[in-house]
Subunit: 504 residues, 2 copies
Amino acid sequence: MASRVGKASLRNKIMSAHEAAAFIEDGFNVGMSGFTGAGYPKAVPVALAARIREEHAAGRPFRIGLWTGASTAPELDGALAETGGVGSRLPYQSDPITRSKINEGTIDYNDIHLSHLGPLVREGFLGNLDVAVIEVTAVTDDGRLIPSSSIGNNKVWLDEADKVILEVNSWQSLDLEGMHDVYEKFALPPHRMPVQMTRPGDRIGQPYLSVDNDKIIAIVETDQQDRNTPFKPLDETSKAIAGHFIEFLEHELKRGRLPKELLPLQSGVGNIANAVLAGLLDSPFENLTSYTEVIQDGMVDLIDAGKLATASATAFSLSPDAAERMNQEAKRYRRNIILRPQEISNHPELIRRLGVIACNGLIEADIYGNVNSTHIMGSRMQNGIGGSGDFARNAYISCFVTPSTAKGGAISSIVPFVSHVDHTEHDTHVIVTEQGLADMRGLAPRKRAKLIVEKCAHPSYKPMLEEYTDRAAKVANGSHTPHDLAQAHEWHRRFLAEGTMVPS
Amino acid sequence: MASRVGKASLRNKIMSAHEAAAFIEDGFNVGMSGFTGAGYPKAVPVALAARIREEHAAGRPFRIGLWTGASTAPELDGALAETGGVGSRLPYQSDPITRSKINEGTIDYNDIHLSHLGPLVREGFLGNLDVAVIEVTAVTDDGRLIPSSSIGNNKVWLDEADKVILEVNSWQSLDLEGMHDVYEKFALPPHRMPVQMTRPGDRIGQPYLSVDNDKIIAIVETDQQDRNTPFKPLDETSKAIAGHFIEFLEHELKRGRLPKELLPLQSGVGNIANAVLAGLLDSPFENLTSYTEVIQDGMVDLIDAGKLATASATAFSLSPDAAERMNQEAKRYRRNIILRPQEISNHPELIRRLGVIACNGLIEADIYGNVNSTHIMGSRMQNGIGGSGDFARNAYISCFVTPSTAKGGAISSIVPFVSHVDHTEHDTHVIVTEQGLADMRGLAPRKRAKLIVEKCAHPSYKPMLEEYTDRAAKVANGSHTPHDLAQAHEWHRRFLAEGTMVPS
C-alpha cells in the first residue's frame, strides 16, 4: 500500500512516536486533536507519558498544559494524567484518571464553553501554544491534511502552534476525504466577518486542513481504532424521556411553532440522547437535519432510514459496530454528513440563526430551572460544560433531559437549589424526565417551580420539594424566587453525610 | 406648527389618551415602547391606569401582560403597577412599585435576556400580542414612523401586534430623523440570514420604523420629556474602579491583545459605567467605538471631546442637561450615534463578531466568579438581567464592576457562594472593585478564588473569605471548586437575620 504521506518532501519527517515525543518539553502547552473519543492521537501521547515518567524518575520536573477539542481516550488523557505530568487541562474531559486528579487538586482544570476556546487561544489570552499533535487520515501530495474522525480544535492548533506533530492513522478510512468542511476565515476583531451559512448542509470551507508545512517537525504512522464504546441498550427510563420529548415536538408542530421537518436537532452525547434519536425513527417527522457536536449511532440509523437528510457535527461518537460501518461506507455517508471545526459546530451565531432544537443532559436542576451540568454536590467536577451552554443559550428551544433520580434513588435530579449553576433559569425552556415534561417558556419563577415539581420530580421526592417550596414561600425575603437559604442545600449535605438525599 | 402626523389619512385617528386606552381590554398583552426611561409612551399608560381603576371599582377584573424594551418610567410602570392591573411583566424593569409587586408575588415577572425577547415573541412562544403602544417623533407623509429616543422592541411590537396605538411626542427633536437604523430582515428559522454588519457604525436598515397603517387604531399627541435622571457626581469609589479598568485596557494594549483604538465598548447603565466613560476622556485611547444598549452622558462627552467616533445603542439614558443638549444638536450627534432595535444592539452574533469589551455591574460575585445580577439574598428581585448576559457571554473580554461593599459595609459584594446565578464562572473574565482587578482568564477555580479575594474583596471581609476558602478546602467532596455547603450562604442568612454580613 502506498504511503499515506503523499507529499514526498514530508516523508523524511516520519519517525517513531518515541522520537516525536522528544520534541515536547517541560512547560509546553500542547494542543492535541480529539473529540469524544474520535480522532485523537494514539501513539505520541503514550510515548510522551513514557518520556514524562523517565524525566520524573531522573528527578526532573515535567508538566504540560494539555488542550484538546473535548474528551479523548485512555491512551491520551488516561496515560498522560497518570504520570502526574499534566499541570493544566482544558476545555473538557471525561477521563476517570484525569477526573480524579482534578478533584484531588493536582490538575488545574479550565472548564470552558467549547465555542469559546478557539477564539480565546487565537486572541492570545491563554498563553503560547508550543506544539500541536494532530491525527489525520492522510497527507495529500501538496501537503494538505485529510482530517480523521473529528475536527474539534485542529484548525486552531494548526494555525496557532509553533510546531506540529502529525499522526497519520491508516485505520481511518480514506473515503472520509470530502466529508469535512474546514472553515478558514477565522479572524480577530475588528476583522471578523459574518459566517455565511444558512442551512446545516452548507459547505463554507475546504475538505482539507491546511498547515504551514515548515511547522511540521514529525509524522508518526499509526493503525489503531478510535475509542468507540457501545451504547447501552435502551431502557424504560430513556424510552419514556424520549417519548415525552417527541410528543412535545409533535405538539409544537400542531401549534404551528415548528415546521414539519422540524429545525436542526442538537443532542448531547450519551444514552438518553441516543434514545431520543431512536424515538425519531418511529416519529412522523421526515427530512430532518441536525446541527450538533457529534454523530452518534442514532443519527446513522436515521440516515439509513431516510429520515435524516443532513447531519452536521465536529466528530463521530459511534459504537464499534457503527464505526466499522462508517469506515466501510464513508463514501455513501459523506452525502449526508459534514464534519466541521468546533468553532463552527458550536458557533452562537449559527446556532441562533439556524434555530437549533437543543437537547442536553444534566446532573441536577432546581425548582426554578437552573441547571448544574458539571459538579457533584457542588465541589466535585464530573466532566465539564462542553458545548451545552453554546446550544442552550442560543437554541430555538432549549431542552434538558435526565432521569428523575440517580444512584438507585439516593439522589434526586430535581433539587431545591442546585449546588452549582452552569445554565441559568434564563436559558432553560424545557426539562424532561421519565416522569414528564415541564415547558417553562413564558413562566415566572413560582410557576416554573410548580410545573417542574409536578411534571418532572420523582414521586418519592415530590412531597419534599413541595414542602421546601411552601416553607420558602413563608420565610423568603421576597416572593419572586422564594428560597429558604438555611435549607437550600440540605439535600446535598445529607447525601454527603449519609449517602442519600432521603431523610432517615 | 405643522402636525407631526404627516400622512393625512391617519389624522382622523388622532384622539385623546383616554379614548385610545379604551381599546385596551382585560387580558390583553400590551407591547409598549421604552428603554431605560427613553421613548416610552407618556399619556396612554396613565389613561390606561385610570381605566383599570374604574373597571376594578366597578367590580370587573382587568389585568394585562405588560411587555416593553427594558425599564421605563413612573408614568408607565409606576402608574400601571399601582393599579394592581399588571398581571405579568417582561423582560426588564427598575420601577419601585413594580419591584414591590413582583416581590409581593402579585406580578409574574419574566426576567429575560434582552436579545431573546424579540425572537421568543416572533416565534409565538409567549402568546398573542394584542396591542402595541409606541412613542414616535413623527409620522411621515407616507405613513412611516420616525422613532424617538429609543427603539427597543418597537419593531417587534409593530410587526407582531394585532393593533397599534401611536404616541407622537413633539418634545422629541425632529432632528432625530436619520439617527436610527432599523433592521428589517428578521425572519423565523429556517429563513434567518446572516446580519451583514462588521463595524459598529454600519447602517444595515432604514431610518424609519414601518408598520401596516391599517393596524393603527389611535394616535395620541403628547409633549412630555423623557424620564431623564441626573448622574451622581463621580465619587472616589467609582473613580478607583474606572482607574483599575482603564489601567487593565492599557496593559492589554501593551501586550498586543487590543488594538490602540480598542474594540467596541459596552457599558451597563449607571454611575460606575459613567465613571468608566469619564475615565476614558483622559486616557490615551483615540477613535473609540461603542456597541452597547444605551448612550449615557459619558459617551456624549467622549463624542464632544473627539474621542468616540461611533456610538451604537438602542436608547438614550441621559441626564436632563444632556438630553436637552441632544435635542438641540441631534443633527450634529447623528453623525456619531446610531440607535438600533435591541434585537440588533444585543445580538449575540454581532457582539461576538465585533469583539465587544463588556463592562457590567453586579449585585454580588462569588469567589469562583459566578455573578448574581438580579436577586437580593437569593429571593428578592432587584431589576433584572437585562442585556448583561448577551454581552458577558459573547464578549471579547467580559468584565464586571462593583464597589466591594454595599449598605455602608453591611454587605460584601464578594461572597463565598452567590445566592443566585445569572452569569456563570464560564462567562466572567474580569472582576473589578475599588480594591483592585482580578483577571481570571485561563485560571482554574481555586486560582480564581485566590485572586478574587486578594484583589477585589474589601479588607474587612478578606479574612472571612480566606477562612471560608480554607475550610471549604478541608471539608469539600472534591478539590475542583471546594465549597462548604453548610456555610455557603451563611453570610446571606446573617444579613437577613441581623442586617449585616459581619458577625457580631
